[in-house]
Amino acid sequence: MSPTIARPLSPAQAPRRRKPSLTRTLVLFLLLLAELIVFNLLLPGYMSPGSLLDTSRTFVETGILALGMTFVIISGGIDLSVASLLAFVSVVMGLSFQAGVPLPAAMLLGLAAGIAGGLLNGAAVAYLGLHPFVVTLATMAIYRGAAYAISNAAAVSDFPPWFTTIGQSYFANGLVPTQLPALLVAAIALWLLLSRTSFGRRVYSVGANEIATRFSGVSVERTKLAIYGLMGGLVAVAAIIQTARLSTARANASMGLELPVIAMVVLGGTRITGGAGSILGTLLGVLVLAYLQDGLASVGVRNDWGLVVVGAFLILGVLANEFFRKSPR
């Protein structure tokens, strides 16, 4: 008999019930507060609601991608193709609009393209049994390449004003950027989906123990397909918002955006090997990194420091995950 050695597991990492990762949430929240205070000292007024809300315009798309990526990573996967797919969706939308398709229909076409791209990733991962890293590395080139190929690297930018309003205007006396509600709605919906539904349970279970999931009457393949499909759909939503914000659809949009997205999710406490993570954590990860980047830029630090910071936070975030996991021992 191999006796069971009861291993205390951090309640922080388990998906629910146990008080959610209080330490981590608290640390992230304090981190956010600290950086805002520092920026406020350097740049009086930075912490005013107006300024903070205005900045949120820059991270709505990244945030939506990070929410979807949370599902993917919890299920034990990874999606490197999100930024490329975003460009592809944007180009599909722009070109079909240019070709005379009514813009709402073009948006639906873009949504379909996004979901299809996600499903292709999912099918290769679930049914061919390929490693998600390699699959999405390949589709990262494919979607970007397809965007270049169909657009011939040319941009589309003659969108009607009602469309660009989505990305450039304000609600509530010029206080709330138009697209912010999209992030909030997505966050609440995905939080409910992940933490309250049977689908959410399956996402966790697939990432924590794929074999046991299979033995519990759950189709691992279908679950994975759905997760990557969901990711594709969210990419499309982000693409629409970004196209509206920049009033441009072009193939080189959001180059390299997949890395900050992954960094935000990991910083938010989602375990890179799957099985643990939360929407709340991801949201905090998004806020911490996004305000850090924006604040640095605002106080006049060169943009390039942003990359260094994101990279360092990515590594430190995982190191911290390890630390938080071991602490209860």
Binding site: I78, A124, L128, G129, L130, H131, F133, V134, V135, L137, A138, T139, M140, A141, I142, Y143, R144, G145, A146, Y148, A149, S151, N152, A153, A251, G256, L259, P260, I262, A263, V266, I272, T273, R302, N303, D304, W305, G306, L307, V308, V309, V310, G311, A312, F313, L314, I315, V318, L319, E322
Partner: protein
């Protein structure tokens, strides 16, 4: 016995890409005038030698069951170091050593974060990719850094008619091939990547084996950086962006399994040449440049799909 030999050759992981490469070469030779010309072939290999050198080193990391996606920024950092040093000193040895030293240090750091810090390699090197690019951008503030023409030797000159990049590629290949066949250093990489638990059981120090692979990638980038600087002649801070994908693509296309343990020293070379041939064919047939990524990505997806199916078939056959 001869049939057995053939049977085993077919089962080798790099066999399908090699066959594919040869078929491509024959087809292109028949259809595209000028493809099989000696100068064209030399220039293809010369062009892929930077990818080749880096992916040879990266191959070791992947064989050991890890990944290093920081090579794009790492290569830029090394090339940047080389060019900067070439401006300061007149000789070439010091810039070369500096480039290799910078690569080695970053490789050490990557290896330490992964093996000591227990951060999954994908995350650790992703972070390094970003951070290092940021550093290069910060240091390369003045836009374009010209490489002194004397220092472009590693990229442009020839030895006995063979371009220096190809000489470097061959040397690195030969060195790694010998290491992988005849030293514990190399053999243990395959063992660790093939079955980590069994490697622990027979007393291999898996962490240290992996650590050495990350350092090897640093060294490889250090060397490749000098060639890269010589070939392009002017270094922008954004140079080699996305290069990591080409390098990983070369390794995977060549037949090394992304999950580790299965592969060979030949794989990255075959993969790199394959990428070069495909790009060259696109150019010669005047396919618009906008199609490059699409074609490359599709090929990678096709290659790994075929490999997965083939692997399952091999296992079922036994």
């Amino acid at each position: 016995m001869k049939v057995l030999w053939l049977d085993r050759a077919i089962k080798r992981p790099e066999a399908p890409p090699l066959a594919f490469l040869m078929i491509m070469a024959i087809l292109l030779g028949l259809t595209t005038p000028g493809f099989l010309a000696g100068a064209n072939l030399l220039s293809i290999v010369s062009q892929v030698s930077v990818v080749g050198i880096v992916s040879l080193a990266l191959n070791q990391v992947i064989l050991a069951g890890e990944i290093d996606v920081s090579v794009g920024s790492l290569l830029a950092a090394c090339a940047f170091t080389f060019a900067t040093m070439a401006h300061v000193t007149s000789g070439l040895l010091l810039p070369l050593l500096a480039s290799v030293a910078v690569g080695a240090c970053i490789g050490l750091l990557n290896g330490a974060i992964v093996t000591v810090g227990r951060v999954p390699s994908i995350v650790a090197t992703l972070g390094m990719l970003l951070a290092l690019r940021g550093v290069v951008l910060l240091l390369g503030a003045n836009g374009i850094l010209l490489v002194p023409s004397a220092a472009r030797l590693f990229g442009l000159s020839t030895v006995l008619g063979v371009p220096v990049p190809i000489v470097f590629l061959i040397l690195v290949f030969a060195g790694l091939d010998i290491a992988n066949r005849h030293t514990e250093w190399g053999r243990d990489v395959f063992a660790v990547g093939s079955n980590r638990r069994a490697a622990d059981a027979v007393g291999l120090r898996a962490g240290f084996v992996k650590f050495r692979c990350f350092v090897a990638v640093g060294l490889g980038c250090g060397l490749a950086g000098t060639v890269f600087a010589g070939q392009i002649g002017e270094i922008q801070a954004t140079a080699a962006t996305g290069f990591e994908l080409q390098a990983i693509a070369a390794v995977v296309l060549g037949g090394t399994s992304i999950t580790g343990g299965r592969g060979s020293t030949f794989a990255p070379v075959i993969g790199a040449v394959l990428v070069g041939v495909i790009l060259n064919a696109l150019t010669l047939n005047s396919v618009p440049g906008t199609f490059e990524q699409l074609v490359l990505g599709s090929l990678i997806l096709a290659a790994i799909s075929i490999d997965a199916v083939r692997f399952r078939a091999l296992r079922r056959a036994s």
